[in-house]
Every structure is written in C-alpha cells, then in structure tokens.
C-alpha cells in the first residue's frame, strides 16, 4: 500500500500542480484587462465617450486615428501628433483635454467635462500618445464667419465631394441610406423642407452657413463646421450645385 501510495505521489503532485497552474492561468486570463491603449482606442472608436443616448458620434467620426488612405474629408485633424500640438481648434483651445471636452460638449451631448484623472481621459490619452510621432504642428482650422452668396459650381465634382465629406453622416444623397441616425437630415430634402418659408437665395445662404458654421455662430444642431482648408469656397459651390440648391 505504502509503496503504491509512494509511487503515486509524483503523479498526484503533478496533477495538483497542473490543476493549480490551470486555475491560475484561467483566473489570470479572465481578470486580464485590455491595456490602456486598447481601452483608449475602443473609446475613440465608440460612442461610449458620451453618456448620452442622443450621441451619434465617435471621435473617429470627425478624426482619423491613423492617417487615412480613404478619400474622406473629416472635419477634424488626424490624431497622430495631437499630444504634442501647442493649440487646438485653430488656436482657440490651449490644452488637449479642453479640446476633447469641447468636442464632447458640442457634438456628443456630454455636458460634464472629463478630468485629467478620469480613467476614460487617461485611456484616451494613452491611445493618442501611442500614435506618436505624428504632425506636432498646429492643425490649420480657419472658419469662415461671414457668409455670402457663392457663384454657381460644378455638380459632378460636388457629387464626389458629397461622398467624401457628407455621406458618412447624412447617408446617400436624396435617400439618406446609411446616415448616422434619424435626427440627421437627408440632404437636401429634409433641410429644404425645414426652410420652406425661405426664399431660394436665403436657402442657398442657409446651406452655405450650415457647411461653414456647423452648430456654431448661432446656428445650433450637432454638425461640425468645415474649414476653408478642407473645403474651398469653390468646393462649397460645387456641393450646392450637386444638391440642387441653386438660389434661383
């Protein structure tokens, strides 16, 4: 008996150790958190950065995490380099977290600002820092404040620009297929209907203003503005032509 028991000891030890090892590994696997960078990337690409059910945006809606090869015109700058930049929002914001909180407040319906010590803020920073090195220069972002009636444009180029700049939020022109949410107007029909009492000239101004100002400068809503660096006045003319907002 003793012999047999003794001969079984190594096997039992191995079995016990293996069981303990597996338990540890399995416990380890189940408790392992994603890294801060992974958490930050997930936040960047999800709507979770805002607690509001009304939020339709992610950071990636307006910003490329990596320099994109897709022909999309996003209203915000690409993120590599952002942690090294001296100012943001065309020089109107002096610190990165303030700039992020401005995005959350204006576009993501998140009224409570993140503090630098908040876990989400730290994870987001970890992700942004992981994108370095990038372009550390101030990203140009010039907003046209005074709106004027633009000359007529080129509809075929306007259709291309619509696909690059508008479609990801508004969906397909005229149908709205693939738009971000029900609150987003299908272009141009919903916006024309909302301004049915305006003259054709003023409707053209309203479309121009919306493209240039987004929700800012007294307009409202949740759309970001397109800077002159992203869309020239000629581009806006082309977009209006494609949308059939001719001012006549």
């Amino acid at each position: 008996m003793n012999q047999r028991n003794r001969s079984n000891q190594p096997r039992r030890l191995r079995e016990t150790a293996s069981m303990l090892f597996c338990l540890l590994l399995s416990a380890c696997g189940s408790s392992a958190e994603p890294s801060a960078v992974e958490q930050g990337q997930k936040l960047f690409e999800s709507e979770a950065l805002s607690p509001s059910h009304l939020n339709l945006y992610t950071c990636a809606t307006c910003h490329d995490g990596l320099v994109s090869t897709l022909p999309l015109k996003k209203t915000g700058s690409a993120m590599p380099g952002v942690t090294q930049r001296p100012v943001f929002w065309g020089g109107q914001e002096r610190d990165l977290l303030g700039a992020i909180n401005a995005c959350r407040n204006y576009f993501m319906v998140a009224n409570q600002p993140l503090a630098a010590t908040d876990a989400d803020a730290r994870s987001l920073y970890a992700y942004l820092a992981s994108l370095e090195p990038g372009d550390s220069q101030e990203a140009p972002f010039t907003i046209v404040t005074d709106i004027s009636v633009l000359p007529r444009g080129d509809a075929s180029n306007g259709q291309l620009l619509f696909d690059e700049a508008c479609r990801s939020c508004h969906g397909d022109m005229h149908q709205g297929t693939g738009k971000l949410g029900d609150l987003i107007p299908t272009l141009p029909e919903d916006t024309l209907a909302a301004h049915a009492q305006y003259t054709p000239r003023d409707v053209r101004l309203v479309f121009t203003e919306k493209i240039r100002h987004g929700l800012f400068l007294g307009y409202g809503g949740m759309m970001p503005p397109f800077s002159v660096e992203l869309l020239s006045d000629g581009d806006v003319s082309d977009l209006l032509e494609a949308l059939g907002v001719l001012g006549e």
Partner: protein, 391 residues
C-alpha cells in the same frame, strides 16, 4: 525523495511566476504616464512686473514683461472653440493667484438663419490661474458683459453689462441692465460662486471699486450719469450727471491709486470729469480734451494724463486749474486709437493702443514728462486695457 522535492520546488516556482505575471498584467489597464501634461507657456513673475492685456477680437490674453517691455506670451481664453468670446478686460487677484477676464460675445453673425433664431448670448467671467492663465472656472453673467472690476481689499468682483440694444427700449426700467457682484471672486475657480444682480442703469459701461471695496462707481452711458452702488446692501446710493453738458456720454471710468477720486471720460462732451469718491460724488474738476477721451491715469496728485482718439494722442492736465499743460499726437503707425494709460510703482507710463480692431494692437511706453514714445510691443487684436501685477 530529493528528486520529488526538487520537482515540487520547480513547480511552485513556475506557479509563483505565473501568479506574478498575472498580477502585473492587471496594471496594464491604467495609463502609467502623465496624461495631458501642460504644454503652454507659464508666466511666473520672477521679480518682474507683468502686464495682462485682453485682446477682444483675437480671443486671447497677452502677458508682457513690463520691466523689459517684451511679450512673454499670448494664450487663448474663452469657452467657445469657434465664436469670438470677446475678452474685454482682465483683472488680477494676486492674493488668490487668479486673474478674472470678462467675455462679452460681441458679434452676431448676419445670416437669414441666425436672424430668426439667434438670441442674445450670455456673457461669462472666467477665472484664470495666474501662473499659466489656464482656465480655473467660470460664471455666467448677462448678455453684453462690459467691464470687470476686482477689489483686493474685499475680494469682491463686479461685472457691468454694456447692453446697448436694451438701452434703446422705451421704458426706463426695461432699459436698465445689471451690475453683477461675486463675493468672493475666488469662488469662481471652485465652482461655488453665485452672481448677485443689481439693476443699475441703462448701458452701464466701465466700473471701479472704492478703496475698501464697499462701493462701486459706474459710468452709465445710457443715462448720462455716474451711479454709486453699495456692494454690501446692493442698493443704488446716488445718480449724478456725468458732465456739465446736456449730452456727455460717459464711458471710461478709473479710480486713483488711493481711491479718493475717479476720472470719468465723456466721449460726446470730450471732457474728463474728476469726481470725489463720496456716496454722492461731486465734480472737483472738468478737463477739456482735444479728442475722444478714454481711460486716463494720475501721474501725480495734481497731474492727470488722458489718452484720446480722433486724432491719436495723449494730453496732460493740471487738475487743480483744469489747464491742459501738454499734448502729443501720434501717427497711426506709432499708436492707433490710444485707449488706456497706466503707471506702475516705478513711475513708468504705458499706453494701450487699440489699433483698427482687425489687426494687432500694441502696448507702448511713453516718457512721463515729454510723452515721447520709448518702446512698443505688439499684442493681439483690439486690446483696450491692461492690468499689472507687481511683485
């Protein structure tokens, strides 16, 4: 047996290593570096006199080394990342390590959509950390915020509202706008401040506390008067005419260093009325200015220096006699639209030049005797006033 023990030891070692690796991996969930490090300039006095200039049309505050007359840096202020917040005046609360800047939101955008939807936008007072001008907190006030004044003696802050659209309404009470009191001002930085509103007069423009902070003197453009408000009871104590003409249009108002007299610049009358700082102020002297007067200053107990516009210039007056003793005019290149004169404890005289509101303005140093221009520092767009910090 020894083989068995050796095997046991090795297994335990492996288990310990796995456990160790497991516990260290849990730290991966939090970022271990410094998130959002400050990248902006800092403005430690280091024994220097510093000047703070609010640039209304570029949404910035410029910080100057007043001893060396150099620009240390310019930082954005305000709440809106796109619209012009219109910082009009910054005042320094050295004891609390704060500065307060008033945001006026001066522009409305002409467009068919905005014309049907845009309501007057509330002003704000923003508290800034003096060390780097980072934003420490803010407090909402009324639309068309005008001037901000701070009393180091009492720790109180007051904000006027230069509400010209309201001043055009028919009924006198409807025309009047508030002066907001905040006590203590430093509560803005902690988010615990409340705005106590006192209906004062039509288009209250610029304001100053008396020596102990118990009274606020207000230049009331829309009622052509100077109003005294008790900052404790918040009662209006008196309203006196701002000048001796039928229409004077008071705008600028500044107290002297010991807060016994106040200078009120009347821009239609082209006069500066010198008042005592009693509860019902008396005019002690009237100075006739060869232009549109702005924010004047005292060079001595009997000498006042007045900046004026159209043409650009500065005039010196003997307050006792009311006599103009010296006037100097400047080219647009030297100083376009002089707005405010101020002195520091070393008796140096500096002048804020507003410029054309589209291009950078400047702060220039003048010889206090000859008024000759000694040096110039470019700041932001449309500066009007400068506050100084003395170590």
């Amino acid at each position: 047996l020894s083989l068995l023990r050796s095997c046991e030891k090795r297994l335990l070692l492996v288990i310990a290593m796995v456990a160790c690796a497991c516990s260290s991996s849990s730290e991966d969930g939090d970022y271990s570096g410094v998130a959002y490090p400050s990248q902006g300039p800092s403005f430690e006095p280091a024994g220097r006199r510093l000047g703070y200039v609010a640039n209304r049309n570029s949404d910035t505050v410029s910080v100057l080394d007043l001893d060396a007359m150099t620009l240390l840096g310019t930082v954005p202020v305000g709440r809106d990342p796109v619209d012009i917040d219109g910082p009009k005046h910054v005042v320094v609360d050295a004891a609390d390590g704060l500065a307060y800047v008033v945001l006026s939101y001066p522009f409305s955008i002409p467009s068919p959509h905005a014309m049907t939807t845009q309501a007057p936008r509330s002003g704000y007072v923003e508290a800034l950390d003096l060390s780097d001008l980072s934003i420490a907190g803010d407090l909402r006030v009324d639309a068309n915020a005008g001037d901000v004044a701070f009393s180091p003696a009492s720790g109180k802050l007051a904000v006027s509202h230069y509400d010209l659209p309201r001043a055009l309404l028919g009924d006198l009470d409807a025309r009047r706008a508030n002066v907001v009191f905040v006590d203590p001002a430093s509560a803005i930085a902690t988010g615990e401040a409340t705005a106590n509103r006192v209906l004062v007069c039509a288009a209250p423009a610029n304001i100053a506390f008396n020596a102990d902070g118990s009274r606020v003197f207000v230049a009331c453009t829309g009622e052509d008067s100077v109003v005294v408000v008790d900052s404790e009871s918040q009662a209006v104590l008196s309203r006196v005419p701002a000048g001796n003409l039928a229409v004077n249009k008071p705008y600028a108002l500044v107290g002297d260093s010991i807060r016994q007299r106040v200078l009120v610049s009347n821009q239609v009358a082209a006069t500066v009325s010198v008042f005592d700082m009693s509860d019902t102020p008396n005019v002690v002297s009237t100075l006739s200015v060869p232009g549109t007067p702005f924010f004047a200053t005292w060079l001595s107990d009997s000498t006042v220096a007045v900046p004026f516009q159209a043409p650009n210039g500065v005039a010196l007056f003997d307050v006792t006699s009311g006599e103009l003793t010296l006037q100097v005019q400047y080219s647009d290149a030297d100083c376009l639209n002089p707005a405010e004169l101020s002195t520091t404890s070393d008796s140096r005289l500096r002048l804020v030049c507003s410029g054309d509101q589209y291009n950078p303005g400047a702060v220039v140093e003048l010889d206090p005797v000859t008024l000759a221009l000694l040096s110039s520092v470019a700041v932001g767009i449309y500066p009007e006033r400068m506050s100084s910090f003395e170590p």
